[in-house]
Symmetry: C2
Subunit: 314 residues, 2 copies
């Protein structure tokens, strides 16, 4: 079944918090949607993560920046400079707040002025709205609660096409031009006027998967509403429960709070990240989160998750 599914993979390039450490890079992820790459946040060293994970820079056409803290965007400069050196030609769209457009366009116009490709900016704000869509997915921003304006991103696959039952369409002599209509769920009428119900000629479409990214944010009921029922949730879990006050003060979440969002929103799977550098490993955070929401896994640099999976593997 899985091999017939359309590719939808999450690549974790960085899941540390503000300071780079030998263990963790700052925030950066790449979602591979049918071999088109979308980057979510772009901390320092993102270009190295791309290279280490063997991702094709030329297939990366959209970068979404959740908020303007350095650990979520300082990698843009090096990444885009490298794209210019590689003689990229297709345009790149950066989805970011207005201040980010001004700051980064200023830097890139100086350091990367001879780039052979266009950079487009899509100005986002903290409203919930569709900020981008193509044939495969819709990307919706929604507000997070942080020290500066911040948004989460909900990436939802559009409904997929039904699968043709080849033996049956062949037997009935369904012509090639009718296939798209069948895939969309319509019945087929033969030249003789006989209506063949769609269910006889196709099997169900693969499920459309949804993924939500929430980093950085304080625990919030509003976030729960906005990620209701998603298949996969990435939620920051900067601190353990002993540091809940610190988390609140700095507008971050604890692992238990992240897991509470997952449970209350009824998501299928939770990935936690944005770990404080104080943890030598994150097993404490994982244990705490699993006590509330068992279907939790830790993010880690180099981790690739097939979002078509219905069960957590690792």
């Amino acid at each position: 079944m899985q091999s017939s599914m359309t590719r939808l993979e999450l690549n974790i390039l960085g899941c540390g918090s503000a300071t780079m450490t030998p263990r963790h890079q700052p925030s950066c992820q790449v979602l591979n949607v049918r071999d088109n790459l979308m980057m979510i946040d772009c901390g320092e060293g993102a270009q190295l993560g791309v290279r280490r994970m063997g991702l094709k820079l030329m297939r990366l056409n959209h970068i979404f920046i959740s908020h303007l803290h350095g650990d979520h965007c300082f990698g843009l400069l090096g990444l885009i400079s490298t794209m210019a050196l590689l003689k990229r030609s297709n345009s790149l769209t950066i989805h970011t707040f207005k201040d980010g457009v001004e700051l980064f366009s200023n830097m890139l116009d100086y350091f990367c002025r001879e780039r052979p490709f266009e950079i487009r900016y899509n100005v986002i704000d903290t409203h919930k709205r569709v900020i981008w869509e193509d044939d495969a997915v819709t990307v919706t921003s929604f507000p997070l609660i942080h020290r500066v304006p911040a948004v989460g991103f909900l990436i939802a696959e559009k409904p997929k096409l039904r699968h043709i039952i080849g033996d049956e369409t062949k037997r009935l002599g369904v012509p090639h031009y009718a296939m798209n209509s069948l895939r969309q769920g319509k019945d087929w009428t033969s030249p003789e006027g006989i209506i063949v119900p769609n269910e006889q000629l196709t099997t169900a479409a693969d499920p459309a998967i949804s993924y939500a990214y929430c980093s950085d944010t304080k625990f919030s009921r509003r976030v729960i509403q906005n990620v209701k029922g998603v298949d996969w949730l990435y939620h920051e879990a900067t601190y353990d429960e002993n540091l809940r006050l610190k988390a609140h003060k700095r507008h971050h979440s604890t692992a238990i709070e992240a897991a509470t969002v997952a449970r209350e929103a009824g998501v299928k799977q939770l990935i936690i990240g944005h770990f404080s550098k104080r943890y030598l490993d994150e097993s404490l955070l994982l244990d705490e989160a699993r006590s509330v929401f068992p279907n939790t896994r830790l993010a880690n640099e180099g981790l690739v998750i097939d979002l078509n999976e219905s069960e957590v593997r690792g």
Copy 2:
């Protein structure tokens, strides 16, 4: 002998060229002068290099930027943000071109506005002149030949003090207050009016060491003049001899050109770096350089060189 010498160590944090690779970071070095740290260039990921090499950020008070290409300065943003998180209080001086002051102060005022320390900017240009000095060293800029304004840095220890011969000063009853004068090479006159020559009471001072950094630059006779007789020379060697035309076109040097600078300038030791990412290892560059100047070594991330050494070790 060596243990009595004042500390002078070169730490290589990055010696790759424009693109980060898993093998090499972009340009960044830290010179440890008697436990005061000076950074030369600050490519992306510099803060991680500092951490990996166990260097104390609080002891880093000066950053010298050779030119405004991203692979020599994009690390400033993350490094300085981390300094702010660590609650640094002492001021930091960045020595850079005028454009760099404008660009980086603009970014840092946004992303790092609540920093608890002052950033001072020392505006440099392509003239040869002393841009900074303290009790231990003088830092002189001199012009390089690159696609944008660029300078090399010559860091020269000031003459050191002579060593007291303790047994002799004790025997003659030289008082404590006279010691500094002895260290500076003056004779001592006893209360009885007897002049004791300095050579009887002291041994020679340790040699004052000099280090020159030349990256990025085309081969240039003028550079040779400016690094004449230094003890240690770091010179870029981006390409091998087969790519000499490419080197010239991009205003870079080949390994043989770097070695020619070292030989013609009569330096004691050469370190080559700023390697193109095309080399899986740099033995070709080392072999080529050594054919012209045997006393050459390759830079590498994590390498620490005691500049008091008189011989290349590795």
